[in-house]
Amino acid sequence: MQPNGNLINHICTIVKRELGGYFGSPVAYVFIVIFLMLTGFFTFYISNFFEAGQADLKGFFQWHPWLFMFLVPAVAMRLWAEERRLGTIELLLTLPVTVTEVILGKFLAAWIFIGIALALTFPLVLTVCYLGNPDLGVIFCGYVGSFLMAGTFLSVGSMTSALTRSQVVSFILAVVACLFLILAGFAPVTAMLSGWAPLWLVDLVSATSVLSHFSSIARGVLDVRDLVYYLSVMVFMIFVNGVILQNRESA
C-alpha cells in the first residue's frame, strides 16, 4: 500500500463519517436554516436588495463576513472540544490513523458542510438571473471569496476548539479572533497599534484584514495574492491545531 493513497483514503473515510454525523443530528439542519434565513433577511430587509433594483449580489455578500464570524465558530467549536470532553479523543487517536489525517478530515468535513450551506443560497442567483442580467463572473468570485473566508474562520475555530475542553470558551475565543481578522484593517485598530509598533508591524497587521481580501475577490478578480492569503491562514491555523493536539495527547 502506498502511504500517499493511504492518507487520502483515511481522510476520505473521516470526512464521510463526520458529514454523516452532521446530517444525522439536528445541528446541520438548524445551522443551515438559520444561515439561510439570516442571509435572506439581511439581503432583502437591510440591504433592500429588491428595492435597489440592481442585478448584482453586493448586498448579499456584504453580510457574509459578519454572519460567518458567529456561525462558523459555532460549527467549529465542537470539532475537538466535544471529543475531549467525552474523552473520545483518546479512542480516536488509537485508531490506525495519524493526527494529521484526523485534523484534515475533520476540517474538510466541516468546510464542505459550510460549502453546502452556502450552495443552498442558489435561489438568489436564479432570482437575479430572472430579474435582470447579472455579471455571473462577479457572482462566481463572490462565492469563491465567501467560501475561502469561511474556511479561514473555520481553521481559526478549529484551533481554538483544540485549546479547551469547553465549547463555550472555544466559541468565544474563535469569535474574538475572527473579529480581529475582520477589523485588522480598520483605522481605530491600526491607530491603536501605531502609537508604539514599528510601521512594518502595523502594515502586517493591516494586511491580515479578511475584509480587504474578500472585497478584492468579490469585485470579480481572482488575485493570486488573495488566494495565498487565505490558504496561508488556513495552513498556519491547522498546523497550530496539530501542534496543540500532539502536545495534549502526550500530556
Binding site: F23, A28, Y29, I32, V33, L36, M37, G40, F41, F44, F50, E51, G53, A55, D56, L120, T121, P123, T127, L131, G132, N133, D135, G137, V138, C141, G185, F186, A187, T190, A191, L193, S194, L199, V202, L204, S206, A207, S209, L211, S212, S215, S216, R219, G220, V221, L222, V224, R225, V228, Y229, S232, V233, V235, F236, V240, V243, Q246, N247, S250
Partner: protein
Amino acid sequence: MSDGKKRIRKTAFSAGSAVLVLLIVVLVNTLLARTTLRWDATEDNLYSLSDGTRTILADMDQDVVIKVFYSKHVPTVPSHIKTFAQRVIDFLSEYEHYGKGRIKVEIYDPKPDSEEEEWAIKYGMKGVSLPSGDPVYLGLVALSADQEAAMPFIDPTQETRLEYDLTRLIARVQTAERMKIAVFSGLPVFGSAPNMMMGGPRQGQAPWFFIQELKKTYDLIQVQAAADTIDPAAKLLILFHPKTMSDKLAFAVDQYILGGGNAIVFADPLSLMDDPRMGPEGSIPDKLFKAWGISMPTGKAVADYTFATRLRNRENQVENNPMWLSVQADGFNGDDLITANLESMLLPVGGAIDILPDGPCTIEPLIHSSPNNELVDAFSHNQDVSALRRQFKPSGTARNLAVRISGTFKTAFPDGRPGPPEGTAEETPQTDPGAPVLKTGKSPSVVVVVADSDLLYDGYYLSQQNFLGFNISNVFNDNLNFMLNSCEMLTGNPALIGIRSRGTFERPFTRVQALERKAQDRWLDQEQALERQVEATNEKLHMLEQQKDASQRAILSEEQEQEIARFQEEKLKINKELKVVRRNLRAEIEQLGTMVKFINIFLVPILIAMGGIIFAITRKRKA
C-alpha cells in the same frame, strides 16, 4: 531526563515549529506581494487594460515616467483606501508591462517635511486630511520630455473611469501641442469671474463641468457673439445652445464647415437653464439646418412614455414625466462608435430632428426616442403632467434626438456674405474682402446635432458630494460620455472612446422595469377612456339642450336628467376602476417582490427543515 523536562522540551519544540511555520507563511505572502497574476472574471474585463489603451501604449513616441505619490506611512488610512491604492499601483504595472519599457512607474511616500512632500506639492498633488489630522496623498503625475500632467487625487469612487483618466494623461503628455476647440455658447458655460463692482461682491461662478473636462484635453477658444470668423486652427466647433447667433456668425460657421471643419451643435427648443424672461424662441439655427438637410420644429419637445423619467413634482409627489427623456440602451445607435457603448442618457425637454428629403449629406440617427412618443409644446413641461397624459396619442414612429451628418456640405448662404442688418445707417466696412467665399465644401466634414442642451448642465449627469473634505463628483449617466465621445471622434482620436464607455456598471432589474411600463400603459388607457366618456356625455347633454324650446331652456328635460344620472353613475364606476388601477399600478411589482423574498428567505429553509424531520422520523422507525 525527567518526564517533566521532556514535556517542556517537547512543548518548546512545538512552539518553535509553529513560529517557524508562521515565518514561512508571512515570507511567502510578502514575496508574492509583487506578483500581479490574476484572473479578471468580470464579463467586460473591467479590471484589465482595454484594446484602446494598448493601441495608445503601442504607438507612443516619447518615454513617460509616472510618479505616484501615496502616503504609505500613515497608519490610519482606511483599509479600503489602502486596497484601492494597491489596486492603482497594480493597474499601473499593467501599463508598465504593455508600454514595453517606454513607461516607468515610480512610487513615492511623501512624509511630512520630506523632499518627497515638496515634490508632491510642486506637482500640484492635493492632500486629504484624515479625521486624525494626517494629510494623505494619493495622486500621480505623468512626465514626458517637457510635458507634465497630473491627477491631484485619484478618486476611489471613480475606479471605473481610472483607465480612461490614466490613458488620457499618458496620451496628453505625448505631444506638446494640444488640439483646439472653438466653443460658442448662449449660456454662461465658461463661468464668470467674481464681480466686485456692481452692487457689492458677487461670487464668481465656476465653468460648467463639461467645459472643465474639455479643458483637460483641449485648448478651448471662446467664440464671441460678434465674431465673423471661426479660427480655422480649431479642430472642432461646438455650438452650445446658440440662441443669439447673428447672421454674420452663422455665415462664419457655414464657412468653417465648408472649409472641412467638424462641429457639434446642441440646439434646444427650450433650455431649462436659460432665463425664462428671455423669450420663447429656443436655439435652432434654421438656416444652417436647412442647408444640412435637417429641421427641428420650433418650440416643440418630445414626450415619450417609454423613456419617461420618475421625477418629484412641486407637490412633492413622484410621477413619470415623459418630457424628461431617460434614453435607455435601445435608443442608441449601436453601429456608431459615439453611441455604441452608451447605456443611459437624460435629455430634459429635448426637441426632435426631422430629416429633410434629398439633402446633400448622409444623415444617421445617433439617439432616437421610442415609438411611444408625441411632439408636444415645449412649454408644457411647466404644466401638470396628468394633463399631458390625458391628451397623449403615441405617434408610432421613433423621432431622432441626435443625428450625425457627414459628407460634403453646401452653403446656407447662396447669396454670399450676409449684408449688415437692415436699418443700420452706417456702412460696416467689408471685413477681409480677400477671403474667398465657399459655396460647396472643400472636403467632407462631420456635424453632430443634438436636440437638447440641458443634458450638459452639471446637475443632470453629476452628483457632487464632499468626501473627507474633498469634492467628489459622481457621474450617473452617459451624458458627458456622449459629449466626450463625440469630441474624440470628430477630432480624430477614436482610440480613447473604446476605453471609456466599455463595461456595464448599471445592471437594472429589466423585468421590474418592463412591469412598470406595462402598468403605466394600462393606467393611461383607463384614464383616456374616462376622458372620452366625459366628452361624449357632454356632447350628448349639449345636443339635448339644443333640441329644446327656448321657453324650456331653464329647466332640465327628463331625457337630460336621465342622461346626467347615467353619466354620474358611469363616472363613479370609471373613477372606481381608476382607483383600482392606481392601486394596482405597483401591485404587480410588489407581488413579485414578495414572492422573491419568500422564495429566498423561507422556501429553502422550510424544505430543509422538512427534510430533517422526515429523516429523523424514518430513522426512529428503523431503530
